[in-house]
């Protein structure tokens, strides 16, 4: 189990001022869980990961792994990275070119505090190389490995000492698209089998949603939201999260009426008209809010459907994506993006009806 509490890590930049790379980062990862730090490039994911690893020294906060405090600013504890016993896979893989595959994977057993016999090293290394399917290549020169093989070797090297925590920094970003898909599943299978507590860093939302037990979305050094993949996708807490994870239609408006109706519905007056949304948050009248709707939740029908939350619009653009078609529909002056099954064949310029399910409309408070 990993607990990060109130972590601040800063860099002195060339100009003399500080880069606030990680600000008040707190989260907990339960035993055997895969926790993902997700965010755009430069948001401080790597910094957070390296602070956990001990490669950066935070300014403030505490980091605890399985009841062992590895960093605490208040207690003045800083365990050096080579004493922490964490496995880490770097973005560049950092495979040592002067060693072969076996030697790369055996290194952590040779240098660590615990002494292993030759036979133990051999057994452990071959076991972990087998797990990542590199056992056939044990004697190969590391410089001759392909990108995918290097990635697996880096993983094997991180796993061989049975680390208390596995840290992965964009491990798939240097692979091409097809291989990335495949490795994503391999990684997931391996993590689930070994039940090893893992912190995973990525800027790819697809990767994060597919792999994680829990996701933290970061923006400008701060965590915006922590939740299960489904939570993050369906109930984004901020506009940034809604926009970064998947795409979204944002409709600005103000809350009408005082309280919510008994079923939790609120009416928001927006530029396309009154939108009924369901909100679990308490909203007050005249509060400015944004309504976020995923493109796949924007229903389109050629005939006027029954029920409320319906507007008449016009098809402005259409993009065929294979498994889906993206429609840009003009409602008044506003364009809404909708993703539909290709069986809907309404032509550009034709009228179409837009319906929004109040359940799928997420109200975002304007900060």
């Amino acid at each position: 189990m990993l607990t990060v509490d109130g972590l601040f890590t800063e860099y002195a930049s060339a100009g003399g001022d500080t880069v606030k790379a990680a600000q008040d980062v707190s989260f907990t990862v339960d035993e055997g869980q895969l926790f993902t730090l997700l965010g755009p490039s430069g948001c401080g994911k790597t910094t957070t990961l390296r602070s956990i690893a001990g490669l950066e020294r935070p300014r403030q906060g505490s980091i605890t792994v399985n009841d062992r405090v590895v960093y605490s600013s208040s207690a003045g504890v800083f365990v050096s990275p080579n004493q922490r016993g964490f496995g880490m896979v770097f973005q560049s893989y950092a495979i040592w070119p002067h060693m072969n595959v076996f030697q790369n994977a055996a290194f952590p057993l040779e240098v660590g505090g615990r002494r292993y016999s030759r036979q133990e090293i051999r057994d452990n290394v071959m076991q972990v190389l087998t797990a990542v399917q590199l056992d056939q290549l044990a004697d190969r020169n590391a410089t001759t490995l392909s990108g995918g093989q290097q990635q697996r070797l880096a993983l094997a090297r991180a796993l061989v000492m049975k680390p208390a925590l596995l840290l992965l920094d964009e491990p798939l970003s240097n692979l091409d698209a097809k291989l990335r898909e495949k490795m994503r599943f391999e990684l997931k299978r391996l993590q689930r089998e070994l039940k090893i507590t893992t912190v995973y860093v990525t800027h790819d939302q697809g990767e994060a949603l597919a792999l994680s037990h829990e996701i933290a979305v970061m923006h400008e050094g701060r965590i915006q939201q922590i939740g299960s993949p489904r939570d993050i996708y369906e109930r984004p807490a901020t506009r940034f999260v809604a926009d970064f994870v998947g795409s979204s239609n944002f409709i600005d408006g103000t809350v009408t009426g005082a309280a919510a109706t008994p079923d939790g519905c609120v009416v928001v007056r927006t530029e396309i008209g009154d939108v009924t949304v369901r909100s679990l948050q308490s909203l007050v009248a005249d509060e400015r809010v944004g309504v976020s709707v995923r493109p796949e939740d924007v229903e389109l029908t050629e005939d006027r459907p029954a029920g409320g939350n319906v507007w008449e619009g016009r098809v402005d653009q259409k993009v065929f994506l294979g498994e889906a078609v993206e429609f840009q529909v003009k409602v008044g002056a506003r364009t809404l993006l909708s993703r539909r099954h290709p069986t809907l064949r309404t032509k550009i310029g034709d009228a179409i009806f837009v319906q929004l399910d109040p359940e799928k409309c997420v109200v975002l408070k304007v900060a």
């Binding site: 080579n82 016993g85 964490f86 880490m88 770097f90 950092a94 070119p97 952590p108 240098v111």
Partner: protein
């Protein structure tokens, strides 16, 4: 049959043939030029080493006596042994010093280190002869200020340092080459992906295990290459052996060659025999360096993106490392310059004292400004430097374009020949060129042209390195997209390649100009009273024992070079040189 071929197809080969011819003319000219300039003097050097001395009375004939004299006597083995000791000592000293400084600068949080890095180029502009003279004034047993101060303070009987010794030579030359080691090792540290070290740390390795099993192993090719380059440089160096070694009877190859030429009658054959041995050593060194850098780049392909150099927190020790930087800078720039400055204000050289302070005078500056032919000397130096830099950059950019951007068979040979002069020690190149133009009289011997030829030959490899570095960075698609936009080859070269190449060309031009203006060891065998250059005047003042006048000239020279570098940097920044 030809009647059946459509017209466009027929016209195709004609156009091709024209481009083909044009290319071969340029390539032919380049090959002829490089052969003439690099290969022929070498041939003559070999030839001369098998000839007896030519005098008015006897003609020169074939002989192996030079080799017999050169390698038959135990003196030569002593010469070889001394050269080796001097060169290895210098290389190791410069390497240890430069590497320690580079490590502190690249991998620790030493305060003010960016200032230090900016200052690290200053020693490179102080000419070797001035540096050596300054250290004589600082540490000679008789007049060395450091010696006298130490004797005074510590009440020593004997002066603690003797600069006229093998150790003194290694100290001065090692200090002089340490900035080079610093730059080379800084580059090696920078080129290594730090995550290679970090992943070892994460695997549980401590600082020493990381250093021994990863850092050292990965920088090994760079370390060996750096030591070899320093070794080659040291074995070629002339100023220190001539000024510090000869008075103490310590001879190395370069000073032996100089002595053989200046003996009466001149023993050019013997000098050539020594030169051939020296050439073999340097060629071996350069060959190993090139093999090693090939291995280095094989490792370099393994490094990933996203470098973020991590700095080791030295804690309180960082003030110690900062102090080391300061002391180093004192030894290499401040003290040498200060001692020259002091001596330049004296009438006769005197150690600093209250009494000497009363006798400050500008006489030596007056002497220098009235020096016969001073204008002429400056003019020679400037003209030579500017024309050398210009010719070198023009020729090497064509050669480099052929080597990097075309697929003409045999282009590697061109590259090899243009790089060949890198193995020539300055003195050996001077000797080879001297021998060649003494035998093939086309009227350049004793004129400024022979100096120009020598400089261009000597510095062509440096120019080539600058152009190659920038040329390989110009991605093929940049040219191709210009072609797809409808640009002809000429337009592409003018509008795309040249502007992209410009920063590299300019940086190379500046570098070649500075090294040309400092050049001594080649010029010393080729100059005549009409073609004196600055470094030769300094050399002559030294030979005449005019130390204070030499100091005045040295101070002016260093200031002028410094201003020149500042202007060059300013120009460079204006035109986008990144260094």
């Amino acid at each position: 049959m030809s009647a059946a071929i459509p017209k466009e197809v027929v016209s195709q080969p004609v156009g091709d043939a024209r481009g083909f011819d044009w290319k071969w003319i340029v390539i032919g000219a380049c090959v002829a030029f490089t052969v003439y300039i690099a290969v022929i003097p070498l041939g003559f050097l070999f030839w001369q080493s098998f000839r007896t001395p030519q005098t008015a009375a006897v003609d020169s004939v074939f002989t192996v006596a030079n080799y017999a004299t050169a390698y038959g006597s135990s003196d030569t083995w002593r010469l070889f042994w001394t050269s080796m000791q001097f060169a290895s000592g210098t290389a190791l000293f410069a390497f240890v010093l430069g590497t320690a400084l580079a490590w502190m600068n690249e991998r620790t949080n030493t305060p003010f280190k960016s200032v230090f890095f900016a200052l690290a180029v200053i020693p490179l502009i102080i000419p070797g002869i001035l540096f050596t003279v300054a250290w004589i004034l600082l540490a000679s047993p008789q007049i060395g200020i450091i010696n006298l101060v130490m004797q005074n303070w510590l009440g020593l009987e004997e002066p603690p340092f003797d600069i006229y010794s093998l150790r003194g030579m290694i100290w001065v030359d090692g200090l002089h080459y340490s900035p080079m080691a610093f730059l080379l090792m800084s580059a090696a540290f920078r080129a290594m992906d730090p995550s290679l070290e970090e992943s070892a740390t994460m695997s549980g390795a401590n600082i020493f295990q990381v250093a021994r099993r990863v850092t050292l192993r990965l920088t090994w090719p760079a370390i060996v290459a750096t030591i070899l380059i320093l070794f080659v440089r040291a074995i070629e160096s002339f100023e220190v052996p001539a000024l510090l070694g000869l008075p103490a009877g310590i001879e190395v190859f370069t000073s032996a060659i100089y002595q053989a030429v200046h003996r009466y009658p001149s023993q050019v054959g013997l000098a050539s025999a020594y030169a051939v041995a020296l050439l073999l050593i340097t060629t071996g060194g350069v060959y190993w360096v090139s093999k090693l850098s090939g291995r280095g780049s094989q490792y370099a392909t393994m490094t990933g993106k996203g470098f973020r150099p991590r700095q080791i927190d030295l804690g309180g020790w960082r003030w110690v490392t900062a102090a080391i930087f300061v002391v180093y800078f004192l030894l290499i720039v401040v003290l040498p310059f200060a001692v020259l400055l002091w001596s330049s204000f004296q009438r006769f050289y005197a150690v600093p004292s209250m009494e000497a302070l009363q006798n400050l005078t500008l006489d030596s500056y007056r002497f220098i400004l009235d020096y016969p032919n001073l204008t002429r000397t400056i003019w020679n130096s400037v003209v030579l430097a500017v024309s050398t830099a210009t010719i070198v950059m023009l020729v090497t950019s064509v050669i480099c374009w052929i080597v990097v951007k075309t697929s003409i068979p045999g282009r590697w040979l061109l590259d090899g020949m243009a790089s060949l002069p890198i193995v020539f020690p300055g003195l050996v190149l001077g000797l080879a060129i001297m021998v060649f133009y003494l035998n093939v009289d086309i009227g350049v011997y004793g004129t400024i042209w022979i100096m120009l030829i020598a400089y261009v030959t000597r510095f062509m490899p440096y120019g080539l390195r600058y152009t190659t570095t920038s040329m390989v960075q110009i991605h093929k698609e940049l040219e191709e997209s210009a072609a797809m936009s409808g640009a002809s080859w000429g337009t592409t070269f003018r509008r795309i390649i040249l502007p992209l190449l410009k920063p590299g060309l300019l940086a190379g031009w500046i570098y070649v100009m500075i090294v040309s203006i400092r050049e001594l060891s080649t010029s010393i065998l080729l100059y005549s009273p009409d073609t004196q250059v600055m470094s030769i005047v300094i050399w002559e003042l030294w030979e005449n024992g005019q130390y204070v006048e030499l100091s005045a000239l040295g101070v002016l020279f260093i200031i002028a070079l410094f201003v020149l570098v500042l202007i060059a940097q300013w120009l460079g920044r204006k035109y986008g040189v990144k260094e």
